[in-house]
Symmetry: C2
Subunit: 115 residues, 2 copies
Amino acid sequence: MYARRGQPKTTTRCRETQGTNSEAITAICKVLALAGNETRLRILFFLKEEGELCPCDFVDILEMSVPSVSQHIRKMKDVGLITSRREGQTLYYSLVQNHNEVLDNVFAKIQKIKR
Amino acid sequence: MYARRGQPKTTTRCRETQGTNSEAITAICKVLALAGNETRLRILFFLKEEGELCPCDFVDILEMSVPSVSQHIRKMKDVGLITSRREGQTLYYSLVQNHNEVLDNVFAKIQKIKR
DNA sequence: ACTTTATTTAAGTATTTGCTTAAATAATTA
DNA sequence: TAATTATTTAAGCAAATACTTAAATAAAGT
């Protein structure tokens, strides 16, 4: 009879703290999943460095196709990580300052590691 | 003739800073990609809270299958995010303190959001 | 030695993700 | 208003991811 059991006290404690933290974990996880893609992390990083940039800039910088860049941008806009401002034909994207307790730390670490 | 061009000064500057930061971005991105999965983020979070836990505990806490938990653990072990210590049949996993400038911030934020 | 428990590993499958090409919007310029 | 530029959106596909079931390894208990 296979009845694997974790340490009872510990697991019930964890299940309880999971209850209170579950939504926070889910929310942060979404941000991490977005930042956990090289193209998107680069986009975020350059927005941090430059303030605002248009899709067309990213196409040049990252050497990727237009729709590919646009689709990555969309995902980040959908969860409110970035916003846009239109100036004629071009859309300027920038970081939404808010989420960024986590992301700022990521950017800081990227700059610190520099070779 | 379609010749989309980003802002020349900006894009060349970005291409340069990308050169110096590329490896840092790639490295951090791997950690974020791992943490950007709910199961793994929960595993990391509970390791932070409890110090050390065995796969069997996570099966109970997260209500997932044994191999599924084990495979998630493996990925994090492979990049050195966690380590193990054996005690009889059971393996105790814990966080490797090192990477964690980024992860610690994530954990702090999870606890801060609490409902 | 045989059985049980804890865990991993392997193989197969379904879902998700990230790209591509093609078409649609939107603003500008001729 | 027709052509050009900037961008998005949609559809299709290939690669990656996360699960499942089944088999393998490892330590203990009987």
